[in-house]
Amino acid sequence: MTTAAPLLVIGVGNAERGDDAAGLLALRGLRARLAAASAIELCEASGEAGALMEAWRGRTRVLLLDAACAGHKPGTLTRIDARQEALPAGRLHGSTHAWGVAEAVELARALGELPEQLTLYLIEARSFHPGHDVAPEVRDAVQELVDLLLTTECASVATPLPRPRP
């Protein structure tokens, strides 16, 4: 029986919808800086609520990286401790067809199924327009987030690799 990694990092988003790729890009940036045998499990997700709840069920420490549409300046980085703060509807840009991150968090809370630690790192988006490139300020924020995570959340369980040359 395999023991779960002590830290699960979930990158949420859609790579084809402009800044909605932010969570995925942050996760991929993190993957590029972590050794293959790292004690951190990395997981990409579309943000569908059921899949998220399945992914973090029984896990102790979870980070979730995603784009946000909260009215801040694009590229703004926000940290939310989901155990301490409820997520209002509309804070995360989820599909209206399917439940997304906010619903997953609040439903898990209602069912008593939140991880012991669940922290959301959100990058404010400029646009979710399909087919558009990620905005420069969002790309900068992605890099900032990767660096931040490596020196804080991930530092206790992994040593980062050098940043790849551009």
């Binding site: 579309s46 569908e48 059921g50 709840m53 399945e54 599909s95 209206t96 067809h97 399917a98 439940w99 619903e103 609040e106 439903l107 809370r109 209602a110 069912l111 008593g112």
Partner: protein, 435 residues
Amino acid sequence: MSAPRRRKRTLRVDPLARVEGEGALFVRVDGQHVSDVQLRIYEPPRFFEALLRGRRFDEAPDITARICGICPVAYQMSAVHAMEAALGLRVEGPLRLLRRLIYCGEWLESHVLHIAFLHAPDFLGYESAMHMAREHGALVRQALELKKVGNQIVTLVGGREIHPVNVCVGGFYRVPAKHEFDALAERLRWARDAALELCRTVATLPCPDFEREYEFVALRHPDEYPFNEGRLVSNRGLDAPIADFEQHVLEEHVPHSNALHAVLRGRGAYHVGPLARYALNFEKLPEIARDAARAAGLGPVCTNPFRSIVVRAVECVYACDEALRLIAAYEPPDQPALALEPRAGSGCAASEAPRGLLYHRYRLDDAGLILEARIVPPTSQNQKTIENDLWEFVPRHLDLPDAELQWRCEQAIRNYDPCISCATHFLSLTLERRP
């Protein structure tokens, strides 16, 4: 003695909650008389029929799937069948079986999402499923697991649970080996029992006593409860091939909606979706689903739109049972898709999306490029019926305080599980009471 002042009332719900997309409802009441009802769809038009022009015929399934994230399979099925009609092809055998199977998955996940997370809170008096989950955790957990099984079917056959990537004109890009269904079959046996339990649960929900006479319209197939094929039929004598759809159905603009309203020519509003399918095809349900319906207090026809939640649960039982039957019968085909050549032509098809009949028509040139596209989604077809329901429902409940009447009107709209984004390829309730 002077005449009593007539009271004007205004109810505003902005936007409509627990429906897909952005819409609003306006109701004006003068005293005890409802003088206006408008279902206002203000989600912007999405121009899919225009952007399909000039695209290749084989792009239609993937482009139209983007009209909807909860019923993409329906769009893909209507698209591939319409294109195959234009190209003179017919899918049979294991490929036809796989198409029914993927539809089982979509019905299951869409219906469960609606039953448990969008509609059940209304009946139990909760603002949202999150509030409901605190006291009905077992129901919510079971619904999440059921929805997951539906997603697993779509993933296995379609390659991805949202906007499947494996569906193509003529069949599929890849077909599963028989053993790939083993684990899914095990999950479906659980799911069938869970769907039966869900049916028993929703049958006990307190339900407004509201009956209406509808012209129900759905597909009817001689041998099976319909997914992809059948004639266009109604409970008032309509019985036509799908090729005649546009002879019977007229779409019209109304000033207050970005989504076209559909009516039957010379007859008016009609009702598509689970109640219609059920009323027109009850005898085609397997015994397990018919027994579940009877145990839930349903007869062969249900005309209370609030009981649509029960009919959806019966269709969940059907979807699980049918999926098991299809998996047991499946033998992989020699080829994943029929060979085809593009050619000039026209073709149309209709399939039964979770919310009702979904019609596609395409005209192609010699190279297989799309010259013209027409898409009529189920929510467009139900808009006028939703308004008509409210025309009858509101006067019977004018004694309610505004907040409660507003809630009931929203619940009445959610009876139809409307997908407003689909309708605007093409709720906010305003109830204005005047003295």
